[in-house]
């Protein structure tokens, strides 16, 4: 490349001084970004993928952070050597940033219009001009009825709209570079596709450089020109998105690509004629006048995995909570071996708890931080004293921890001493302690990194083979479901819109909603993804 790039990071090393000693957050990281280009920094949690962006935006607290070496050149000038005033001037005006969770980055007590205009008035734009530009931006990022919504507060918008507002705010001063840190991770697949498309359009319009920080190979395939793969603070691979996917040089990249779900064999449906263990008929749940779950009917066979997919607000979690009696159903029945669990009395319900267990989405929150692993797992025996005499608890906890692939010697540790994937294993061990027949997994792996995700899924499949478990697997991630489920149920707005064997749902979906959902999910292969995008655009054009 002849011209100097817009932004260049050279040999950046950042350390964090913690009480446990020095942690090298990133080591010798170099990359560059040109005008009109999209660079993705791909990495799992803890890989240091956000650190270089934080260094650019002066967001690293020093101490405990320390920029050990390296330079960050913006149009040839080292920003690390600039005065803090000069840097503040650069941030927002020339380099803007959007974050993963727009709700926590919008101030809840100011109207969104005011907040967008404020970024401009803060940099010296007159108020009237700022207001008209803010309105223009809200229209541009696709906020419907933007004149009226100018004076609305952040909570009055949906997640996707909030992210659009953040983008509007970032673009207010026509920056040369937009840094997007996991911009679509908290969004539904269809909304994710829209936001990514919006980012691409805006980039083409303004010619800005887009730096995208993500953990999702699908997002990389969708928008990135070039990609930098990071692992434990170092760049392990760099190149065009397509080269990196098709010809990964580093073992870590290969592992990462192999772990991406949605490429394996689909499971054949179980034989018919087996008596279902769970039969749900017309289950309905109202919250006041809001219908969260409307006339849901489904069956689960022994040893079967039934996946429930849908976007947020589709009622899939309400279904799970109603089946577990965390919420009382408004009407309908759910027969567990012929007994209706919706109307079951307390005593019968207590024994049912042994048969149906749940694994929650976020293991950090579902494990009591003040209980040791032993206490957490053995609580099942304390609640149901009939399972096991106290003298055998310890041995059984050891066995369970072994079964989920944890070191049984760590049973006196506390949840925070484990990684996210290990914590989810603890949660699985806890649910297995009751020897259930059915485990309801509510987004059980969506908080985990891709490679950890695949490990946990392998564990779940293995346990199913060994113990004959059934799973009701609630997820928003279609590729994951594709590899794992026997049957798939698609939900939208509290209703089941389609259900069938996994192959049928993915290869011959009948409903438009299902087709949209599948089309919106991202494939890690840039070429396949490009084809899908043109199909999607064609579909939208109809």
């Amino acid at each position: 490349m002849g011209e100097t790039p817009l932004l260049e990071v050279r040999n950046l090393s950042v350390d964090f001084h913690t009480v446990g000693g020095k942690v090298h957050a990133v080591r010798n990281v170099s990359w560059h970004l040109s005008r009109g280009e999209t660079l993705a920094i791909l990495g799992e949690s803890g890989s240091g993928k956000s650190v270089s962006a934080s260094a650019i935006m002066n967001l690293i607290d020093c101490p405990p952070g320390e920029i050990v070496s390296g330079e960050i050149l913006f149009e040839g000038q080292d920003v690390l050597k600039m005065s803090s005033n000069a840097r503040r001037d650069l941030n927002g005006r020339r380099i803007a940033m959007i974050f993963q969770d727009p709700l926590s980055h919008l101030n809840p007590v100011y109207t969104v219009g005011f907040q967008i205009a404020e970024t401009m008035t803060a940099h010296g734009t007159p108020r009237v001009q700022a207001r008209s530009r803010a309105l223009e931006l809200m229209a541009r990022v696709g906020i419907p009825d933007h004149e009226a919504k100018f004076d609305a507060y952040p909570h009055q918008f949906s997640g996707g709209q909030r992210q659009r507002l953040m983008i509007a705010m970032a673009l207010a001063l026509k920056p040369d570079i937009l840094i997007a840190d996991e911009p679509t991770t908290a969004l539904d697949v269809t909304v994710q596709a829209q936001v990514l498309a919006l980012l691409e359009e805006l980039q083409q319009e303004t010619g800005m450089g887009l730096l995208l920080i993500t953990h999702d190979l699908g997002v990389v395939a969708e928008v990135a020109d070039r990609v930098v793969v990071m692992n434990s603070g170092e760049i392990v691979e760099a190149g065009t998105a397509s080269d990196v996917y098709h010809d990964p040089g580093h073992p870590y990249t290969r592992k990462l690509i192999a772990a991406v779900p949605g490429t394996g064999e689909m499971a054949a449906p179980l034989e018919t004629g087996i008596k279902p263990i769970l039969e749900v008929n017309g289950l309905t749940k109202h919250f006041g006048s809001f219908i969260a779950l409307d006339d849901a009917s489904l069956t689960v066979l022994p040893g079967e995995t039934v996946a429930i997919v849908g976007e947020s607000g589709s009622g899939k979690s309400t279904l799970a909570k109603t089946l577990l009696r965390l919420e009382e159903a408004t009407s309908g029945e759910a027969l567990w071996h012929g007994r209706d669990l919706v109307t079951m009395g307390q005593r019968e319900l207590f024994s049912l708890r042994r048969d149906i267990q749940m694994v929650f989405q976020d293991p950090t929150q579902s494990l009591n931080p003040r209980m040791s692993v032993y206490d957490i797992v053995s609580e099942a025996f304390a609640i149901h004293p009939k399972i096991l005499p106290r003298s055998q608890w310890k041995a059984r906890v050891r066995e369970l921890l072994d079964q989920v692939g944890l070191d049984a010697n760590h049973m006196n540790r506390y949840p925070h001493q484990f990684s996210g994937g290990q914590r989810q294993r603890i949660a699985i061990a806890r649910s297995l302690a009751l020897e259930p027949k059915l485990i309801i997994c509510d987004e059980a792996v969506s908080a985990l990194d891709v490679s950890i995700q695949s490990q946990v899924m392998t564990l779940l499949t293995g346990l199913q083979d060994k113990l004959g478990l059934s799973y009701l697997f609630i997820a928003h991630d279609l590729p994951l479901v594709r590899d794992f489920a026997h049957r798939v149920i698609v939900m939208q707005d509290g209703r089941i819109v389609e259900q069938g064997p996994v192959a049928q749902i993915f290869e011959a979906p009948r409903q438009t909603y299902t087709r949209n959902l599948i089309a919106a999910s991202l494939h890690p292969d840039p070429e396949i993804q490009a084809r899908r995008r043109s199909e999607r655009l064609a579909m939208a054009g109809d």
Partner: protein
């Protein structure tokens, strides 16, 4: 359910995390936080004074010696009990402070413990039960809070005889709402957490959920409030004593000593100063210790006390 009987006890392996004896571990963590360590030492001293003080110095503390009236402190030629000076009747201040520790501690600890226990229990019930019970409890708390606590104390103590027991009851009642409201607010938040739901799914009883899952999360906040309240109760007791409806002379408390010394502030400052200093030191120690305890009880924070502290440059 076939696996119930067929597993073999595993061999304990060498790499198992061996917990050191709890007492030793607590002492080690206390030593790491030097401020908390000295606070603990001071509090032990106060407790010893409270237990043995009246037995040893009762006589000295009440014997009047008119030659030692308002004797200035730090006069080391006199008996060591006079090193902090003498009061208006020539009684040695140091002895009186030691003797007063018992009443003061009894009233303060009694009132704080009672209001903590009652307030927390009611707060847990209000937070975890249905809206009706919760409403009744909360309105009850509102009634107590809307009543000026001093007025309540005056009325109750006017009707009942002023004694240590009655004083504890009155002070405890006025402080209940603090714990009640705090614990209810925390319970309302904690009960929605995912691990509480996980326990429900396992079939845990309400009692188990409240005591095993919710209370341990709420407790540190309440204990911190209780230590702050300790000082408040000591001072409230002194104002009641000042009004003549608290502890009656010749019985003494630190608060009473402060208020007795008040008219002499310009001529004999030490009469109020030393008892006041002891009140401050006791409260400060309690705060430091509760701060330490908060960290020590939290498994996520505990490492701060377990690893060697680096020297700050």
């Amino acid at each position: 359910m076939t696996t119930n009987s067929d597993h073999i006890p595993a061999q304990p392996s060498a790499t198992e995390d061996v917990p050191t004896s709890p007492a030793k571990q607590v002492l080690r963590m206390l030593w790491r936080d030097k401020l908390a360590f000295f606070a603990a030492v001071f509090l032990i001293l106060v407790i010893l004074c409270a237990i043995f003080g009246p037995m040893l110095f009762e006589e000295e503390a009440t014997r009047q010696d008119l030659r030692g009236r308002n004797a200035p402190p730090f006069d080391f030629s006199r008996n060591w009990l006079f090193w902090l000076g003498g009061d208006t009747l020539g009684r040695p201040l140091l002895a009186r402070i030691i003797v007063a520790a018992q009443n003061t501690m009894m009233v303060a600890a009694g009132a704080v413990a009672a209001s903590l226990a009652i307030g927390t229990t009611l707060g847990l019930i209000a937070g975890y039960s249905g809206p009706r019970t919760s409403q009744v409890i909360m309105r009850l708390a509102d009634v107590i809070m809307s009543f000026p606590s001093l007025l309540l104390a005056v009325i109750v103590l006017y009707m009942l005889a002023p004694s240590v027991g009655n004083l504890i009851i009155v002070l405890a009642i006025t402080r209940i709402p603090v714990y009640l409201r705090t614990s209810r607010a925390e319970v309302l938040e904690v009960r929605e957490r995912m691990f509480v739901q996980a326990a429900q799914v396992m079939g845990a009883s309400t009692r188990r959920i409240v005591f095993r899952h919710i209370l341990p999360i709420v407790a540190p906040t309440l204990i911190t409030i209780a230590t702050l309240d300790f000082a408040f109760v000591m001072l409230a007791e002194s104002s009641l004593s000042f009004l003549g409806i608290g502890i009656q002379p010749p019985e003494i408390t630190w608060g009473l000593m402060v208020s007795q010394g008040r008219p002499y502030l310009t001529s004999a400052w030490w009469l109020s100063f030393f008892p006041g200093l002891v009140i401050i030191l006791t409260t400060l120690s309690l705060n430091l210790l509760s701060n330490w305890m908060r960290t020590a009880l939290d498994p996520v924070q505990r490492w701060r006390l377990e690893i060697a502290r680096k020297k700050h440059g």
